[in-house]
Symmetry: D2
Subunit: 281 residues, 4 copies
């Protein structure tokens, strides 16, 4: 049975849990999952409530919930669990994250549809075709960035994209794109943050003799690599690992960390507040 996911944020105050439970009961719903978090320093309340009900119509539920939201000053998102988010994946030359996301959606593991693959290179056309996904080759140079981004935005709009995934897309997006999809663009950073700053981080890591390398998935913001973190992981390395080995191990990390972040978003488990992400379990 389709369920409804309610994601809520507001200033912490008495009666919130009760009010939400009251609302769900009132529309004949049954809560199947509920998790909440209070940020004690900021005094902010976060809640994810998943419930089943006879008529899980998003617009109807949003309208019914509006008075409660208004009373507590809540920011509320309502989603049906059976509505598959529409994803566009942007990639440059490296295929590993793109291929992994295509495989996970094709197999049905990830409850979302990849509806567009966009790349500044032609490399992935066959891969996209294999999975039956339209491929948009949109080359870019320093001089054509603004124009290319407009093309990207057109693809995103016409494909009615809900989520943009930067799967090792090596171009910096300008606010023109970032502001159009706030907390709806996920990037994979090839490092554990905070990280070696500047070019060739794996060379720096090898130079420094680190014993672990990592990867970080985060929402993209104008502050490069500084957006709210969704998922991170690391793997052990040693002096035996040449730069190439770090790059290879890094790729495996990038794949799993990005997939984990996309899954959390697609299942409506993430709530952003300031520069932090609450990821419900």
């Amino acid at each position: 049975m389709a369920s409804v996911v309610l994601l809520l944020t507001c200033a912490d105050q008495p009666g919130l849990v009760h009010a939400v439970a009251d609302f769900v009961l009132g529309i004949g719903g049954n809560i199947v999952h509920a998790e909440q978090h209070i940020d004690p320093e900021a005094g902010v309340f976060f809640q994810r409530v998943e419930f089943t009900c006879a008529h899980p119509d998003v617009a109807t539920i949003e309208a019914a919930f509006a008075p409660t939201a208004a009373r507590f000053g809540m920011h509320a998102q309502v989603n049906r669990s059976d509505e598959r988010p529409r994803i566009a994946v942007l990639a440059s030359t490296q295929p590993h994250c793109l291929a992994d996301l295509l495989a996970r959606t094709s197999s049905g593991e990830l409850a979302a549809d990849i509806v567009a693959v966009i790349s500044n290179h032609p490399d992935h056309a066959a891969l996209a075709a294999f999975h039956g996904v339209p491929y948009h080759h949109l080359p870019v140079t320093r001089d054509t960035r603004e124009q290319q981004e407009r093309q990207v935005l057109e693809v995103l709009a016409s494909a009615q994209v809900d989520l943009v995934v930067l799967a090792r897309y090596m171009q910096i997006l300008t606010p023109q794109v970032l502001d159009a999809y706030p907390t709806r663009i996920i990037n994979i950073h090839h490092s554990f943050l905070p990280a070696f700053v500047g070019a060739r981080p794996y060379h720096q890591a090898q130079q420094r003799g680190v014993k672990l390398i990592g990867a970080t998935a985060h929402y993209a913001t104008a502050d490069l690599d500084e957006g709210p973190i969704i998922a991170q992981d690391v793997t052990a390395v040693s002096h035996r690992d040449a730069v190439d080995d770090l790059v290879r191990k890094g790729r495996d990390l990038e794949v799993v960390v990005l997939a984990r972040a996309v899954r959390a978003h697609v299942e409506h488990r993430t709530l952003v507040f300031g520069n932090k992400t609450v990821v419900f379990g």
Copy 2:
């Protein structure tokens, strides 16, 4: 401010979250944490609710909650977060888990008091004395098990113990003890379960060339090593590790896994159902 932790189990049914939130609101409480879980196959509802209120008296709250519990057939536990559980630690010759738990309570990290150390060996008297904890040396042989267990039970009773921790206690407890403290005896098993069966598991592991070894903390039951699991962890090993290295790495695992399980219990984050433990985050 002291908070109250409510741990609930009952058959899943509509209105549970609402009823609990209603109760908390009714006694003037404010929910600071709430987490729930539904076991879909068993149809069982689990909830941990932490709330602050003006008069956090356990008996009063239990009485006030009784009608709600009765209505839904709930099993309910009420605890104050500022009441420090009283722990007895049982150990044999190995000190590592005992020393760790004493250090964590002495430093204040673990919000509990170790009120008795019991051992079938005299080895840890100085360690217990260093931490100001009474030491009970209760030797045991195959013939005196029943009598020694009665002595153990007397110590536990007179020290008003809430939780018994078997910190590498190498004696098998009989139902005489186990039944007196249901889901209140935590054992650390020197293996990742399911495990090599029989004697000398590390020798077996080394013989088999495993690449990981583990440790498991669980509630003790009459089925040896088969009680509900609270925490588990593993660490990497290789052909370079001799049996001694496995034993050493195993000790480090045992320490952290046992500490994690004790913390979860002490913070009232565990609920046992059948042979499984729900551990709230």
Copy 3:
């Protein structure tokens, strides 16, 4: 520059390292990596020596090394690092391990060639074709096992396969196949060994409330799931994970653990002794 990898096993005795270093120096080679291990209980010496030399011809080096091998009773394997092992992948319906191995060889990450995909189902024909690998659909029933295995052996022989990878191949191989490729068949077991015995291990794991699940890659032997372990890994799970989640997390583990084992074999880092695998770093 191509290097040569020497893999040696023999009874431990004085002078082994010296003799090997002497040999390499004698043929004008330069050791770039050398690692050895002594199993103290079995008294067995293992060594992996990688060296560069002007004429890295395998047959010539084998002949030159024969007297040294004879003197110490060594079992020796000689391989060139630039000779790409030829791999056959056997799969049933699940594509994740197969797809991963195809991607890693296609991208050049894994220095091997997949020269045949064999399946008892037709499902992966398009995937194999995408990577330009011949697909052999060899259905099997209980009654046709012997005959189907002969077909499998014919494919392996005609494709000159060096390594067979069972990538979630859900058929039991008989000694007819196993004995033809000793320590050259790698299987991925969907569990951390020792494991829940019998059918539906993930259901058992969920029932038992384990906090970790694992995967094990091992050489296939007649003792099902009991062959020498090459790689293992685990991931954390909780009461929140339904059986489906365990299966999904298990898949991710299987992919990385199998890839790690195949890489170790392909780079000539594994030596089997008895039921154990020495995996050089």
Copy 4:
């Protein structure tokens, strides 16, 4: 039987492994472990050779090896595995790392002797006394640093210390101390490096919403927190973890990472080159 550990560094060149094996054979030794590493970019050779021999006298072996070392321009360290390094532990107010190291040496797990505990606070006198280790309370202010460091150096000298461990010692050491014990001072840094710069890193980590925290053990150098890394590890955290939880989880990491680094040093498994540490397995 006592063995001898030879640690070697020199420019990579043909014949190194052979020459060392030749030397060991010549003095009637038998190699029980040997591991080597070549840094391909720097062209540097590292080797750890452990061998048994009839008369494992360090001075005699050093003298015998001198011609070989001279021929290849080797830097060589010779140690007996049964000579227990003498350790001084420096701590401030936090006891966790100190207590752990004392427990590991007292139990015999770590083959070293802690011969002095030095602190700028009086807090750990009883703990040191419990383990029978002299306690040196050497208070320090900004104005008395130079003088206090001279006292520290006197304690280190009179206790004939081989290794200094900074176990959460919150004072910055000047070159006066650092230069006296090059690559013989191990520090534990309460973060995964590279890390949040500046004060209160756990607050920064919590603010940033990181999903992992780490700890790093490294040799202390004049560049604060920039010395050669010996060991690192991380643990998962989430939005549920308050700063106090990060601090607590960080402590557990610090304990195990520092112990791992001290063990590697004590077993003569570390070789420093430039700003990197080769840690043999």
